[in-house]
């Protein structure tokens, strides 16, 4: 399985999936007109990766700016997917990068992982990512 990179657009984020590093990065604005078309292929990719590569550690890096409701729901589904893999014994990290002082965005990250007990939530400063 090779790395996959989806460039960003005016309304969709850049998505980089690296199977060797067991990591997916999602950066930029996320208010797609068709969230399913954007995230369903990513979800399929992740499911295949977990089933074939069986990683012990997997990291989701989120450095997002504006996210609309549809985008948040899709990201929450992604977090639920990796949480289910964490329930199987894998170490799952969800890194949420925000600018220092951006309290609204920091609380949004907490909303994404609220109720998910098998992920390690790591809020970090955006410059550190």
């Amino acid at each position: 399985m090779k790395s996959v990179r989806l460039p960003s657009t005016a309304t969709t984020p850049e998505i980089v999936f690296d199977p060797l590093l067991h990591r997916v990065d999602i950066r930029g604005h996320c208010h797609p007109a068709r969230p399913d078309a954007l995230f369903d292929p990513l979800m399929s990719l992740l499911r295949r990766h977990f089933s074939t590569r069986q990683p012990l550690l997997f990291t989701v890096h989120l450095a997002l700016q504006y996210v609309d409701k549809a985008g948040l729901h899709a990201l929450r589904e992604l977090c639920r997917l990796v949480d289910s893999e964490g329930r199987s014994g894998r170490w799952i990290e969800v890194v949420w990068a925000t600018e220092p002082g951006d309290l609204a965005q920091q609380s949004l990250g907490e909303c994404l992982v609220d109720g998910l007990n098998h992920v390690e939530y790591l809020p970090v400063a955006a410059a550190a990512v």
Partner: protein, 400 residues
């Protein structure tokens, strides 16, 4: 200053010579998209300068000139419409305009292109006026005025034609912008001039658009970063979002303020697109598209305000919707910070279909209230004009 109805047709001023064009002679008879027209631009107190005017389809009128103009500049644009096969037969029509946006010209000659957006229905009316002016010019040959060499403001004395028009270097044929054509339904066939066209232009969609512009006008201490006036569609919204992102990236703002301004801009544009109501006019063109005004503003240099910026939108709503919108605004104003956070979280988790007539703020409104640094300003007003169809307006201002 606002748009005026087209002035009576006049023969081309003798001092003006058309710019070289790549279009064939037959194209001169069509007020179509992409055709360049000779023009003259004059800002009050300054010499007139040559310009080239073209329609940009649904985006409105565009012209290029040699000197950059600032947003907000009020000017008079004289456009030469083809009255015959020769340039000397051009019919000059005057428009009073205000620059709302500038961009680098596509021709690569270092000129600035400015344009005025207007809805397709208004563009269609202007085309009717142009065609009427052509028909009138063909019927009557009017001698050029004594000072036809230079257009002038009514309060200013005429300037010598020779001194007012500095020589400009010869330019190669301009690149015709490949703009989409006007929808066929919006462009009426050649018809007799409407006797009440002037009245229609000042009381119809254009009057509403002027009112919307006034509603989002920058207050003291603010300047526009980008603005849009007119109908919205998904493709245009995408371009607006990209433009807002690019413009904000060029401004020295803190990343947090930049993100919040962008978030407010997107939410408010989507809100007006979804909820702006079409203004039904008693006109041959039928119902006009929903008219909206969006303005992204920053503090002027030296302004005392410490705000990162403002996003202001205005759109037409029905008078019946005012009580619901006022109740929604009151609900937003009454939310404390903890209540706002709780309501936001509840709206985020809600996957149901929200009723259109809901009186409580939805996720979009709550996002706005969350990102803004001050309580949202939501104003509902009725146009106090004398027209029987006077619409109601919703103005939303978010400060970041």
């Amino acid at each position: 200053m606002s748009n005026t109805s087209p002035a009576p047709a006049q023969a081309a001023p003798a001092a003006h010579r058309p710019m070289q064009r790549a279009q064939p002679a037959t194209a001169r008879h069509h007020a179509s998209v992409g055709v360049a027209w000779p023009a003259t631009v004059q800002v009050e107190g300054e010499p007139a300068m040559r310009a080239e005017c073209r329609y940009a389809g649904t985006e409105g009128m565009a012209f290029t000139c040699a000197r950059p103009l600032l947003v907000g500049t009020e000017l008079v644009l004289w456009v030469g419409l083809p009255g015959g096969e020769d340039a000397e037969d051009d019919v000059w029509t005057e428009f009073s305009l205000r620059v709302i946006e500038t961009m680098p010209a596509t021709s690569g000659h270092g000129m600035t292109c400015v344009y005025r957006r207007m809805p397709a229905e208004t563009m269609a009316r202007l085309l009717v006026a142009y065609q009427a002016a052509l028909a009138a010019a063909a019927a009557v040959v009017m001698p050029p005025p004594a000072d036809a060499g230079v257009p002038r403001w009514p309060s200013m004395p005429a300037q010598p034609a020779a001194a007012a028009m500095p020589a400009t270097p010869a330019m190669p044929p301009p690149a015709v912008r490949s703009a989409p054509p006007l929808p066929q339904a919006a462009v009426p066939a050649m018809a007799a001039p409407e006797p009440s066209l002037t009245t229609a232009l000042t009381t119809g969609a254009m009057a509403v658009e002027w009112h919307l512009e006034r509603l989002v006008a920058c207050g003291p201490g603010a300047q526009p970063l980008m603005q849009h006036f007119g109908a919205l569609d998904p493709a245009l919204m995408q371009r607006l979002f990209q433009k807002a992102h690019d413009r904000l990236a060029d401004i020295p703002l803190s990343p947090v303020v930049r993100r919040k301004l962008y978030a407010c801009f997107v939410e408010m544009v989507r809100n007006v697109h979804q909820h702006a109501e079409a203004l039904a006019l008693d006109s041959p063109a039928g119902a006009a598209p929903p008219l909206t005004a969006v303005s992204l503003q920053l503090p002027t240099a030296g302004a005392a305000s410490t705000a990162g910026g403002w996003v202001v939108t205005a759109n037409v709503v029905s008078a019946q919707a005012l009580p619901r919108l006022q109740a929604l605004a009151a609900a937003l104003q009454g939310l404390s910070a903890p209540a706002l956070a709780q309501a936001y979280r509840a709206a985020l988790d809600d996957t149901g279909v929200r009723p259109l007539q809901a009186t409580t703020p939805g996720f979009g409104w709550l996002t706005l209230a969350r990102e803004a640094s001050a309580p949202l300003q939501v104003q509902c007003s009725v146009d106090p004009g004398t027209q029987a169809w006077a619409p109601a307006y919703l103005v939303v201002k978010a400060q970041v």
